[in-house]
Amino acid sequence: MNRAGSLASDLGARVAPLAGLAIVLVAAAITSPSLFESASLRLILFQIGLIGITALGQTLVLLVAGIDLSVGAVIGLTAVIVAAHTDGSNGALPVAIILAAAAGIGVGLLNALLVIVRGVPPFVATFASFVLVEGAITAATRGAPSGSIPSGLHTLGADRVAGIPVPLLVFAALALVVGLILARTIAGRKLYATGLNPRAAAMSGIRTPLVVAAAYVACSLFAVLAGLVDAGYIGYVDAQLSRELNLESIAAAVIGGVALTGGEGTVGQTVCGVVLLAVLLVWMVELGTGVGGQLAVEGAVILVAVWLQRQALTQKRSVKG
């Protein structure tokens, strides 16, 4: 295959998520026009915010060829810590947030430690953290978390500015910052280099363990933020939600085109994947497909995304070879 062909397939992989989004939007508009009425639209925007925040962290980890399955547990942990520490008092919120962030950093460091020092595959290491944290939550709360969520968090989770849900604004700002860091800074280049080829990166003087650890810790901190957003959205500790956000954060990044093999992908792609997934999820509820349908569609979309990615990758390799 020639160079032009490779460029075209590369472009294809990049454009595919956008085109997919366009298709979903059009199909949704035809089948359930009510999707774009204010209530549903607000829900989509909120979902973009919540899933998006976790997906940003997941993107960083994916870029260093990792994966983080402990995101959901950190979200749950955050809500439990905030409820237990504040018991509804706004005054205690700052300390509670610091405690939750500290716990998040702890989980991130544990993941990094297992992956870097012990060489545990990220999938296993972070799943172990997930089970550990969930177990600790259950043991400590006996299933009934004490305390309640302070009203101050409502602003973060459920308020709107000029009609736009605050979580979406938070996500947009963070996406911009992370995007700039990845595209324009040395730190960003180090992250890509580590993900693409850790040995080469190490030989060129990058302290790859630090880069990987930073990615896991950042991912956990994003999960803490998502936990705060979620707690503010409902005002209660939600013990059921965590597993789902684990999968959705990964799904969003992968649908957008971030490679599971590391080193490839941009925040723009993640944003695109997040929007696609959020529209899809709300659309499925509108259609009344039920859980089975929602999961099936989500799975189908991920499959297509990964398949397109592999195709682009093999074509590229065949050019190089």
Binding site: G12, A16, A19, G20, I23, A27, S34, E37, S38, A39, S40, R42, L43, F46, Q47, T138, R142, G143, A144, P145, S146, G147, S148, A158, D230, Y233, I234, G235, Y236, D238, A239, Q240, L241, E244, V282, M284, V285, E286, L287, G288, T289, G290, V291, G292, G293, Q294, A296, V297, G299, A300, V301, L303, V304, W307, L308
Partner: protein
């Protein structure tokens, strides 16, 4: 160019087939609830029937409904003489295959059992299923191997039937608690609040609020879980038979997660619904918050009775009807197990009584000083509530 077209063809095909899957995959099979009469004799009993009807009558009255048609259920009194056993000096040894402390309902369920066991001088053998039916199969096997005098099971799913059968075959009388187990398992007695009662009571109240016609949504907990599926089925049957002018616009699940409940409800705000049938107060709470945020009047909604919901709506003008599924019904399960061991006749089905109520009585049931995790009304003592960190 061809390959690009092909790619989109596949994308489209994928979406289409997924949709097709979704459309076909919703149905669930369920067995009717009825306890087994296969063990020993089970003779018809007026008192058992009266006791069963009592829970229905309380619901009718509280929801201000006219006389409900109670679906036929096999009710009788089980002769338990074949399980009669002298009480050992250390008390009866009774196994409790519990859900495990995965939520506050289970925490209260298990605390109540433990306290009652101590009170009655019963030795409790406890196993937690962590909410998982597969794990419960192992639990039941393990508990049975410790040769308890009787076993109480909070069923996590129909897949435990075989293992329960093995336990009963081993001579251990089993009581199904807060749920039903297939009668083929040989379970002696079932102690739960009837799913039929819950589903129909909520449905009748909804029908009354909208004068038998209008657009409603149904929101249930977890797909495939009996506690969600049976009340749903009972309500669907009632709507179909009795209220043809009620259109069920959509049926959703929210996994009993407050967040999902709110997002599902938010997606329904624009659908001009007249009422929402739901099986939990997680849903009722999500509905309340989503409509409130959208600035629209909250439609009448049903559910079970959590303090979280009552605290949220205690000063709001919202119509609701709640029918509790009380966690402390585990004490009745234990009492039934002990009765069996004493050789006293027991009902094959104990319809657990709990006060259903509407918004008119919210002030009576809300516990502002207690945690949102509390299920109301509770029979747990103040000390127990304190030790569970549920109340101050």
């Amino acid at each position: 160019m061809f390959s690009r077209t092909r790619v989109w063809f596949v994308v489209g095909l994928g979406l289409l087939s997924a949709l097709a899957l979704a459309a076909c995959g919703g149905g669930k099979e369920g067995t009717e609830e009825s306890a087994s009469a296969a063990n020993g004799g089970c003779k018809p009993s007026k008192s058992v029937e009266t006791a069963y009807d009592k829970a229905w009558e309380q619901g009718e009255e509280a929801f201000e409904l006219s006389k409900l048609e109670i679906p036929p259920t096999e009710l009788c009194e089980v002769d338990t003489s074949k399980w009669k056993k002298e009480e050992p000096s250390g008390g009866y040894k009774i196994a409790f295959a519990a859900q495990g402390p995965t939520n506050s309902w289970a925490a209260e369920n298990e605390e109540a059992f433990k306290t009652k066991a101590e009170e009655m001088g019963v030795e409790e053998l406890y196993a937690s299923a962590d909410g998982d039916a597969t794990k419960q199969v192992d639990n039941i096997q393990q508990l049975a191997s410790q040769e308890p005098d009787a076993m109480v099971v909070v069923p996590m799913g129909s897949s435990i039937t075989g293992q329960v059968k093995a336990a009963t075959a081993q001579g251990i009388p089993v009581v199904a608690c807060a749920g039903t187990i297939d009668p083929s398992s040989g379970v002696v007695s079932t102690v739960t609040r009837s799913y039929e009662l819950q589903g129909r009571l909520w449905a009748e109240w909804i029908a009354k609020q909208i004068d038998g016609k209008g657009r409603i949504a149904m929101i249930s907990g977890i797909a495939g879980v009996p506690t969600a599926e049976y009340p749903k089925k009972a309500a669907e049957e009632l709507f179909a038979e009795k209220y043809p002018e009620i259109e069920i616009v959509t049926k959703q699940y929210d996994d009993w997660s407050p967040t999902k409940a709110k997002t599902v409800a938010a997606s329904l705000v624009g659908k001009n619904l007249d009422a929402i049938w739901s099986d939990s107060s997680f849903t009722a709470l999500g509905v309340y918050e989503a409509y409130k945020e959208a600035g629209k009047p909250v439609p009448p909604v049903t559910g079970d009775a959590s303090n979280a919901y009552l605290k949220a709506v205690q000063n709001a003008d919202v119509k609701f009807a709640l029918s509790p599924f009380p966690p402390e019904m585990s004490t009745q399960c234990l009492e039934t197990a002990v009765s069996i061991l004493k050789g006293e006749p027991v009902p094959n089905f104990v319809n657990v009584e709990a006060p259903a109520f509407t918004e008119k009585e919210k002030k009576k049931y809300v516990r502002p000083e207690c945690s949102e995790n509390l299920w109301v009304p509770t029979k747990l003592s103040d000390e127990e509530l304190k030790s569970l960190k549920l109340c101050e």
